[in-house]
C-alpha cells in the first residue's frame, strides 16, 4: 500500500467548507433561539454614572437587558490563566460587564437578549448610559510615567507584571569590543480570522446541562473556565467547536461575551445566540504584539556574537487576557538569542495596563517579536563592524554538531542544521548578482535590497512540567483515543482542536498509513467536550507535534492488542507476528495472514480471544512531550523601494523551513505562505492606531491594511528535514514559522535598500509615507 504521509493529499475538510456545508457556531439554529447584542463603551476610560435600560426593556420582542450591576455576585470575573513566576502579576478583576468603570473602547456595558437580531440591535440604541469621561492612556511607556491615568487600583503605575530572566551579562558587556544598541517599536496588530467570534448556548433543564457552541481553539479550556466563572459543575457543561474559521490565537482567550451568552441561556431557559460583527471584532477581540524594546548586542570586532540584553515594555491592554501575560514573557524572553551561539543573555519585561483592547497570542505569539529583534540586531551589528550580514550569520549560527544546544535561558534546542537551510536558500537566489545589480541600480537612483532571516523558534507546546514551571495554569499534553469499529472503520478522538489547519487530513494520513487502511476509513473527531475526554487545543504549532504524537502512540497500542489477537488466530506467539500494510503474518511467512479487518471483527465477536485479552479494539494515549520542538530555517526577501512615493514592493521571496518530516507538503506550503504574508503584514502594512482619546482609528478594513494576495510575488518554498529526536513522528511544527521568519527578512531587506541613505533603522510598519519621509530627510540634510 502506498504511503500517504509525505504526499499532498487533498484536504478532506474542504469539500464541506467551500460548498457552504460547514457547521460554524453561527450556523447552529435552535428552536426558540433568542439573539444577544452587546452594548460597548464608546469611551476609552470613563466612569459609569448611570445606565437606564427601561426604554430598551419595554420594546416589544426584547426578552431581557443585563447590566454589570445585575450580574454582580451571580457571575464571576474572567481570570488570566498564565501567571509567570516571580512577576508580581496583578490579577485585576475583569467583570463580564463593566460595573463602575469602562477601560477601553469596546468594553462591554450591557447585553440585550431579544426575539430577533434586529430588535436586539435596535434596543442597544435605547439604552441610555451616562458617562463621566476620564483621561485615557494607550501607550505603555506613557502609562508607566508619573501622573498617567491609573486603570486599576491594585496596579500602581499601571504595571501588570515585571519579569526578568537570564544569566549575568555585565562582565561580557563591559569587556565587549562592540556593543550595538537599538530601540524597537513592534506595533499592535489586529488578528482577523475570516469567521468572527460567536457563541450559541442552550440549557436543558431536564438534565441541568448547558451546551455552548463556541468559536474556540481550545474547547476543554473554555469548559473549565466557564465552569469556574459561572459556577456550573464541569460535567454539566459541554463546549462544542465543530468548524471554526481560523483563530490565529484570537480564539484562545475566554471572553466576557461567551460567559454572558452562556449565563443568559440558563437564566432565560432559552437558547441564546451572539455573533460579533467585524467592527466589534476590531475593538473587542484580542490584539497582538505591541512592544517597545531596548536591545543591546555584544560582540567582537571580527564578528563573534557574545551576548544580548533586552528590556521590553509590553502593552497588555485594559485587562489580562487568558494567555496574555505569557506571550511577552515566556514565549518571548527565553529565545531572544535566536539561532546564534551566545554565552550570556537576559530579558526584562514590563507588562503594562493601558486603555486599549487586551492583547493575547497572535500567530507566533512572542517568538515573532524575539526573532524580529535578534535578526534586526544581527544586521545592525554586521553594519557596525563592516561585515556582510550573511558572514556574521555563518559565523554565529549554531552548527549541526552542537545539538542539543542549551541556550543562556536554559532552553535545550532539540536538533538542527541551520547552515544547511541557509545553503539551500542561497541556491534559490543569486546573491552576488543581486549585489551587483543593486549597485548598478543605485547609481540610477533606484533602490533594491535583500534581507535575511535565519530563525529558530520554540513550539510544539509543550512539556506540562515546564508549563507549570512557567506559570501556565494548565497542562500541555494531548490526548487521543483511537476506536476501531467492528467493521474496521476508525474514529480518532483528539484533544487538539484544528480550526482551519487541515488536521482532519494530516491526522488521517498518519492513521491510515500506520494501520494500512484507506484514508476514507478514518475519521477525525475533535472540538466537542462530550465526545473527546480531554484536551488542550490547537495553538503554539502543537497540533501535529503533540496531538499527532498522541494519536500515533494510541494507534501503536491498538496494533499491539491486534497483534496478540492475530497471533492467537495464526497460532503463533505475538513476538513472531509482523504487521505490514494492514496485514498480520508470521515473520517470513506470507501465505498465512490475518488482515486488520479480520482481526478487528474477531476482537468484537470475542468468540475466541487469547487469554487475558478483553473484547473490542480501542486505545487511548495521553502524550506529554519531553521538550519543545525547534523548527528553523532561512528566509530571504528581495524588495524594491519607489524613491518618489516610498512604496515598498516585495519582488522575490524565498523560504527554506525545517519542520522535520513533512506530513503533507501541500498543507505545509499553505501554512508557510499564509504565515509569510501575515508576517509581511506587520513589516509593511498593518498597525492598530489609537488617537489621543483612545479611539481606535483603524477600526475597519477601510483603514487597517490586511495584506492582499496582489501585494506579493509567488513565494518560493523548500525544506530541509531534521527530525526532532523526541517525538515519535519527528515533526517540529509549521503553523507559525512563516510569520516568525518573514517580518525581519522584509524589514532587513528594506533597510538594506535604504543603506545608501545612511538610515539605520525604521520602525514598522514601513508604510510608504514613513519610508519616503526618511529618504526625504536625508536628502534635505545633504
Amino acid at each position: 500500500m502506498s504511503k500517504l504521509v509525505g504526499t499532498p493529499v487533498k484536504r478532506r475538510e474542504d469539500a464541506r467548507l467551500i460548498t457552504g456545508h460547514g457547521n460554524f457556531t453561527d450556523d447552529v439554529r435552535l428552536p426558540g433561539q433568542a439573539y444577544a447584542e452587546i452594548l460597548r463603551s464608546p469611551h476609552a476610560h470613563a466612569r459609569i454614572l448611570s445606565i437606564d435600560t427601561t426604554a430598551a426593556q419595554a420594546m416589544p420582542g426584547v426578552v431581557k437587558v443585563y447590566t454589570g450591576q445585575d450580574l454582580a455576585g451571580r457571575v464571576g470575573t474572567v481570570p488570566t490563566a498564565w501567571i509567570p513566576p516571580a512577576s508580581d502579576l496583578k490579577q485585576v478583576p475583569h467583570a463580564v460587564l463593566a460595573v463602575e468603570t469602562v477601560r477601553y473602547v469596546g468594553d462591554g456595558v450591557a447585553m440585550v437578549v431579544a426575539d430577533d437580531p434586529y430588535i436586539a440591535r435596535d434596543a442597544l440604541d435605547r439604552i441610555v448610559v451616562e458617562y463621566q469621561t476620564l483621561p485615557a492612556v494607550t501607550d505603555q511607556r506613557e502609562a508607566m510615567a508619573e501622573g498617567a491615568p491609573q486603570l486599576h487600583a491594585d496596579a500602581p503605575g499601571n504595571v501588570a507584571l515585571h519579569w526578568t530572566v537570564g544569566n549575568d551579562t555585565d562582565e561580557v558587556f563591559a569587556q565587549a569590543e562592540v556593543v550595538v544598541r537599538q530601540e524597537f517599536r513592534q506595533q499592535r496588530l489586529i488578528p482577523n480570522p475570516m469567521e468572527p467570534r460567536a457563541a450559541t448556548a442552550q440549557y436543558l433543564s431536564a438534565t441541568d446541562e448547558l451546551t455552548v457552541w463556541l468559536t474556540t481553539q481550545n474547547p476543554h479550556i473554555h469548559r473549565l473556565l466557564l465552569s469556574g466563572i459561572l459556577g456550573i459543575p464541569e460535567h454539566r457543561l459541554r463546549v462544542i467547536a465543530v468548524d471554526v474559521g481560523g483563530g490565529f490565537g484570537s480564539k484562545i482567550a475566554c471572553y466576557p461575551d461567551e460567559v454572558l451568552v452562556a449565563y443568559a441561556a440558563r437564566d432565560l431557559n432559552r437558547p441564546v445566540k451572539w455573533t460579533e460583527d467585524r467592527r466589534e471584532h476590531f475593538m473587542a477581540t484580542t490584539h497582538g504584539r505591541d512592544h517597545y524594546e531596548e536591545v543591546e548586542l555584544a560582540g567582537s570586532r571580527d564578528g563573534v556574537l557574545q551576548g544580548i540584553r533586552v528590556k521590553s515594555y509590553a502593552n497588555m491592554g485594559a485587562y489580562l487576557s487568558t494567555a496574555g501575560p505569557g506571550v511577552p514573557t515566556i514565549l518571548f524572553g527565553l529565545i531572544v538569542n535566536g539561532a546564534y551561539r551566545m554565552p550570556v543573555a537576559s530579558s526584562e519585561v514590563f507588562g503594562v495596563f493601558t486603555n486599549t483592547t487586551p492583547t493575547d497570542a497572535y500567530r507566533g505569539a512572542g517568538r515573532p517579536e524575539a526573532t524580529y529583534i535578534i535578526e534586526r540586531m544581527v544586521d545592525l551589528f554586521a553594519q557596525t563592524i563592516g561585515q556582510d550580514p550573511l558572514e556574521v550569520r555563518r559565523r554565529n549560527l549554531l552548527r549541526a554538531d552542537e545539538f542539543p544546544y542549551t541556550n543562556p535561558f536554559g532552553l535545550a534546542y532539540d536538533s538542527g542544521n541551520y547552515h544547511a537551510a541557509l545553503d539551500q536558500a542561497l541556491t534559490m537566489v543569486d546573491y552576488p548578482a543581486f549585489r551587483q545589480e543593486q549597485a548598478a541600480l543605485r547609481a540610477q537612483g533606484q533602490y533594491v535590497g535583500i534581507g535575511f532571516s535565519t530563525y529558530v523558534e520554540m513550539c510544539g507546546l509543550g512539556p506540562s512540567q515546564v508549563a507549570g514551571a512557567v506559570g501556565f495554569q494548565g497542562g500541555l499534553w494531548e490526548s487521543a483515543t483511537v476506536r476501531v469499529h467492528p467493521s474496521g472503520k476508525v474514529q480518532v478522538f483528539t484533544g487538539a482542536s484544528p480550526h482551519g489547519q487541515g488536521e482532519e487530513t494530516t491526522f488521517s494520513q498518519l492513521v491510515a498509513d500506520q494501520l494500512g487502511i484507506p484514508i476514507d476509513d478514518v475519521d477525525i473527531v475533535h472540538g466537542d467536550t462530550a465526545r473527546v475526554a480531554m484536551g488542550w487545543g490547537t495553538y503554539g504549532s502543537r497540533t501535529m507535534v503533540v496531538g499527532g504524537a498522541a494519536i500515533s502512540t494510541a494507534v501503536d497500542r491498538v496494533i499491539e492488542k491486534a497483534r496478540r489477537i492475530a497471533a492467537h488466530m495464526l497460532e503463533v506467539s505475538p513476538e513472531d507476528v509482523v504487521f505490514e500494510d494492514g496485514v498480520f503474518h508470521p515473520e517470513g511467512v506470507l501465505d498465512r495472514q490475518a488482515t486488520f479487518a479480520e482481526v478487528t471483527i474477531q476482537a468484537y465477536l470475542a468468540w475466541n480471544l487469547p487469554q487475558g485479552v478483553e473484547p473490542s479494539l480501542e486505545a487511548s494515549a495521553y502524550y506529554d512531550p519531553t521538550n519543545f520542538t525547534y523548527p528553523f530555517g532561512t528566509h530571504i526577501a528581495q524588495v524594491s523601494v519607489d524613491a518618489d512615493t516610498g512604496e515598498v514592493r516585495v519582488t522575490k521571496y524565498v523560504a527554506v523551513d525545517d519542520c522535520g518530516p513533512v506530513v503533507n507538503p501541500m498543507i505545509v506550503e499553505g501554512q508557510v505562505h499564509g504565515g509569510i504574508v501575515q508576517g509581511i503584514g506587520q513589516a509593511l502594512y498593518e498597525g492598530a492606531v489609537y488617537d489621543d482619546d483612545g479611539q481606535l482609528v483603524t477600526g475597519s478594513f477601510m483603514d487597517y491594511t490586511m495584506p492582499r494576495a496582489r501585494f506579493f510575488p509567488q513565494i518560493e518554498t523548500a525544506h530541509t528535514v531534521t527530525p526532532s529526536p523526541h517525538n515519535p513522528i519527528g515533526v517540529k511544527g509549521v503553523g507559525e514559522t512563516g510569520t516568525i521568519a518573514s517580518t525581519p527578512a522584509v524589514v532587513n531587506a528594506v533597510m538594506d535598500a535604504l543603506s545608501g541613505f545612511g538610515i539605520q533603522h525604521l520602525d514598522m510598519p514601513l508604510t510608504p509615507e514613513k519610508v519616503w519621509r526618511a529618504m526625504q530627510q536625508v536628502q534635505d540634510e545633504q
Partner: protein
C-alpha cells in the same frame, strides 16, 4: 451590522422616483447599486425612513452617442462603462477609472449616478469626468437642470443635488481629433479607493503641441479638484519632462490637502505631484 428599520419601494420609472421622493424628501433615499448607501446604513451613519430603488429604471440605464457627446444613464453600472467600446475608444480615462473601481462585484452593482451623488472624495469617476469636461443632467419637481461635474462635488459627501432631485444622466463631450486621456490610480492599500487618482486629457497637434489640457485629481485632496494651474503649464509647445514636472508641481501647489491620523497632508501632496507627473508622462510618446 444591522441597519435601522426602513421601508422599501422599487420605482419602475423616473416619474415614480420623483413622485415618491417629493412625498418625503428628507426621510427618503434613492438606492441604486447600494454599495455606498448600504454600508452607511449598516453602520447607522445613515438611517433613511424609506428607500426608493431605482436600480431597474430602464430609462436611467445605458450608454449612447448623441449630438457630439457620449450620454451615460445614471443607473449604468461601472462594469458596463468600463467595457463599452465607444467609451474605451473615445474616453479612455473614463473606461480606465471605471475599470479600477473596487472589485468585479462592486463594478457589477455600483453606478455612475450613485458614485457622483455619494461624492466620496476618494472615488475614481469624478477625476475622469472632470478631465473630460462632463456635465450631469438633474431632474427635480421643477424640471431638469445641468451642472458641471466640478459643481456636483461640493465637499466630502456633499453634492449640488437637492434631496428631491434625481441625477438622470452624465454627458461627456467627445474630445476633438488628436485627443488623448488617461487615468492613473494609486489605490489605498486597505480600502482600494484612490489615494491619488489622476486623470489627464490633452489635445495634441500632429507635431505634439498641446492645444487643450485638463487635469483632475481625486483621493489626494480634500475633494476631487481640477488642477487648472497645471493645465496652463501644459498648453503650448511639445511637452518636455521639465514642463511635465512643472505642471505636476503646479497641481500639487493648487490642491487642498488634509492630514489625518494615518497620513499627513504633506505626503498626500507628494502623491499628487508624483501621480500627476506619471499620468502626463503616460500620454506623451
Amino acid at each position: 451590522m444591522i441597519p435601522a428599520s426602513f421601508s422599501y419601494r422599487r420605482a419602475e420609472s423616473l416619474d415614480d422616483a420623483l413622485r415618491w421622493l417629493a412625498e418625503d424628501p428628507q426621510g427618503s433615499k434613492l438606492v441604486a447599486g447600494g454599495h455606498s448607501l448600504l454600508p452607511l446604513m449598516k453602520m447607522r451613519l445613515a438611517a433613511p425612513r424609506r428607500l426608493i430603488d431605482i436600480a431597474r429604471v430602464s430609462e436611467l440605464i445605458g450608454i449612447r452617442e448623441q449630438s457630439g457627446a457620449i450620454v451615460i444613464g445614471a443607473g449604468t453600472v461601472h462594469r458596463d462603462l468600463a467595457g463599452h467600446p465607444d467609451v474605451r475608444q473615445k474616453l479612455p480615462a473614463l473606461a480606465e477609472a471605471a475599470g479600477k473601481i473596487g472589485d468585479l462585484q462592486v463594478r457589477n452593482r455600483g453606478t455612475i449616478g450613485g458614485s457622483l451623488s455619494h461624492a466620496d472624495p476618494s472615488a475614481d469617476l469624478p477625476a475622469a469626468l472632470m478631465a473630460l469636461a462632463a456635465t450631469v443632467d438633474i431632474a427635480g419637481p421643477a424640471g431638469e437642470r445641468s451642472l458641471a461635474v466640478e459643481e456636483m462635488m461640493v465637499a466630502p459627501l456633499v453634492t449640488g443635488l437637492a434631496p428631491d432631485e434625481v441625477l438622470v444622466r452624465v454627458r461627456v463631450p467627445i474630445p476633438a481629433a488628436g485627443s488623448r486621456s488617461v487615468y492613473l490610480k494609486h489605490p489605498h492599500p486597505a480600502s482600494g479607493y484612490a489615494l491619488a487618482g489622476v486623470a489627464v486629457a490633452v489635445t495634441l497637434e500632429p507635431a505634439g503641441a498641446v492645444t487643450a489640457a485638463r487635469v483632475a485629481v481625486t483621493g489626494a485632496g480634500v475633494v476631487p479638484f481640477r488642477a487648472t494651474d497645471a493645465e496652463t503649464v501644459l498648453i503650448g509647445d511639445r511637452l518636455t519632462p521639465a514642463r511635465i514636472a512643472e505642471a505636476a508641481k503646479a497641481a500639487a501647489a493648487a490642491g487642498e490637502f488634509a492630514g489625518d491620523a494615518l497620513m499627513s497632508a504633506e505626503y498626500r501632496r507628494q502623491l499628487c505631484r508624483v501621480y500627476v507627473e506619471r499620468a502626463i508622462s503616460a500620454l506623451v510618446d
